[in-house]
């Protein structure tokens, strides 16, 4: 054990406040490595990405020269952009709204005691633990018009007459991608709301019961208001995750030509991987990053995570 980290205990009279105050220098060995990692792998690439968005970069990654804001002009004049932005908004809104509504119901259900509840809760976390790529792959296979097992099921229960190529055209492919995104987002959301529900004091619910409030009245006027912060956390983190989700659309809509099923994130990766335009991809990423920063700001303002520090 290094003795240089040894501190003399503060004198007793200073104990009440301030013996836990440390100098910046003595905090370095404790905080330094974590800070370095964040600076090198989060802050630096963010800055570097902004810098690259103002450069012309060759397809093999060589920085050629400055182009000012030309890359952003290219991005905003891109005829594919309006459709991509509309897709992104539809994608995020539909997934998050439906996820939160379904999760509210599921969390309410999982908060009620019944035999086997632990097992049901375990089943609900499976899509959270499993790789999103792998989960999506099963849906892609199941929805194949010819050999897809989900299509066969829809035919067998009389929903459809013949197999449908869900993943072959932009609109149905977006639709089934939204279903998959909801499926993989529900576990986290449900657990967040469940945590919020378990934090509601039993006396509050008891008081509502004594006052003769019905089930729905109790839910709307007692439970929902207490869930406000859990709802804020769930909604904002889902917005960020869904907005930045790549694997679902990459697997489900990746083989559709053009950009009719792209969101901002899948477009960034197409420009980066297939067009090999690191500069344009950086400019798009900066636009994406700016939107993320706004959502993070809303999170910090409304959820106030800093209060718990």
């Amino acid at each position: 054990m290094s003795t240089s980290l040894q501190v003399t205990p503060a004198p007793a009279k200073r104990r009440k406040r301030g013996n836990d105050s440390q100098s910046l220098l003595s905090s370095v060995p404790w905080i330094g490595p974590a800070l370095l990692l964040i600076l090198a792998m989060v802050v630096y690439p963010a800055g570097y990405m902004i810098y690259n968005s103002t450069r012309k970069i060759s397809s093999v990654g060589t920085d050629l020269h400055s182009v000012g804001l030309d890359n952003f002009v290219t991005v905003f004049q891109d005829p594919a952009l309006p459709r991509i932005m509309i897709n992104t908004v539809v994608w995020v809104l539909s997934v998050v709204v439906i996820t939160v509504l379904l999760s509210l119901a599921l969390a309410q259900f999982l908060n009620k005691p019944f035999p086997g509840r632990t097992f049901v809760r375990m089943a609900v976390i499976v899509p959270w633990a499993a790789s999103v790529v792998m989960t999506t792959t099963v849906f892609y296979y199941g929805l194949d018009p010819n050999y897809g097992i989900f299509n066969k099921f829809f035919i067998d229960i009389g929903l459809m007459d013949e197999g449908f190529g869900w993943t072959k055209n932009a609109v149905p492919a977006m639709l089934v991608s939204i279903v998959v995104a909801i499926f993989v987002s529900i576990p986290f959301t449900t657990y967040t709301l469940l945590a919020g529900m378990q934090a509601i004091p039993e006396e509050t619910l008891e008081a509502a019961r004594v006052d003769g409030a019905g089930k729905w009245k109790t839910y709307i006027f007692v439970i929902l208001p207490q869930l406000r912060s859990a709802l804020a956390v769930a909604a904002l983190i889902n917005i960020i995750n869904v907005f930045n989700n790549l694997p679902i659309l990459k697997v489900m809509t990746g083989s559709i030509p053009g950009n009719s099923a792209d969101t901002l994130m899948t477009y960034i990766f197409k420009v980066l991987q297939f067009d090999r335009r690191l500069d344009i991809s950086s400019a798009l990423s900066v636009v994406n990053f700016a939107i993320v920063v706004v959502i993070v700001a809303i999170y910090v303002k409304s959820v106030k995570p800093m209060q718990e520090v």
Partner: protein, 285 residues
């Protein structure tokens, strides 16, 4: 039937109703993975047959789990090794740097603490996909492109925040008087951390380790562009190569998926109870 008596004294009919809904929920959430499992034991002809059969006609082909390691699409054994190496080392790195930071921020005040915690919270909201364009060029410039080290560093950095946050809340729960008593006895900070705090907060550490490991295990976006050699890629990236082919060997995709998914489900199940507690603190993303 005594087991139908619940804590909220619901009627027997209500309890049976809840159990039925429970069965339905389990079915819905496990359905894709059951499909995976059944698909993984079909023959190639069966899984591509038109129309398909729900169950394998020619019996369970458990031999797929032996033959799936040698497919032309991707070197599966290497992909598994990559996934393991990247996840294990990234998790160790997170543990190494997050534990002292979490302990220190939970115990002491120091100039810049708020700035540090703000950085942690912002990092927690981000994911590699947001900065991949920057990270890609950075790894080219640092000569780390297409290396495990690049993905170990990236995974560690983006999961560090959650680990600091959850361990911070656990350390904060240890009464300060215990630390102070030890310090009066002359123990240094590092000894107080190891001998007094770590044994008390191990559930928080286990939660952080498992959550980090699973998250690294499943990382996709950054690996997709930074790891270009097939042998270096993790399973999540490797499996996408099967999608969109003329006749996909789905039975292998699903066999590999089952092998990759089952261990992390078990790990996640171990921390299920603590996920609720962690989420209450707004810690999990």
């Amino acid at each position: 039937m005594a087991f139908l008596v619940t804590a909220d004294r619901a009627s027997r009919k209500t309890v049976i109703m809840r159990m039925l809904i429970g069965v339905l929920v389990v079915l819905i959430f496990l359905l894709p993975y059951l499909t995976m499992l059944i698909g993984s034991i079909k023959t190639q002809a069966e899984i591509l047959s038109i129309p398909p059969d729900y169950l394998p006609r020619e019996g369970a082909q458990w031999s797929n789990y032996a033959s799936m390691w040698a497919t032309p699409e991707t070197p599966v054994p290497y992909n598994l090794i990559s996934t393991i190496v990247i996840s294990v080392f990234a998790t160790l790195l997170v543990l190494l740097v997050a534990t002292p930071a979490a302990y220190y921020t939970a115990r002491f005040k120091f100039p810049g603490k708020m700035v540090f915690m703000f950085l942690v919270i912002v990092t927690q909201m981000l994911q590699p996909a947001v900065l991949t364009a920057g990270l890609f060029k950075q790894m080219l410039a640092w000569d780390l492109h297409d290396t495990w080290l690049a993905m170990i560093l990236i995974n560690a950095a983006f999961n560090l925040a959650f680990a600091v946050w959850i361990m911070h809340s656990f350390f904060a729960g240890v009464p300060r008087s215990i630390d102070e008593a030890a310090q009066i006895d002359g123990a240094g900070k590092l000894r107080v951390l190891f001998t007094i705090n770590l044994p008390l907060v191990w559930p928080g550490i286990v939660t952080a380790v498992i959550f980090t490991f699973v998250s690294c295990w499943n990382e996709f976006a950054a690996s997709l562009v930074i790891l270009s050699t097939a042998e270096n890629q993790p399973l999540s990236v490797a499996l996408t190569k099967f999608v969109g082919q003329y006749s996909t060997a789905w039975q292998y995709v699903f066999g590999v998926s089952i092998v990759a998914i089952v261990p992390v489900i078990i790990l996640f199940a171990l921390i299920e109870k603590r996920l609720i507690g962690g989420l209450a603190a707004g810690a999990v993303k």
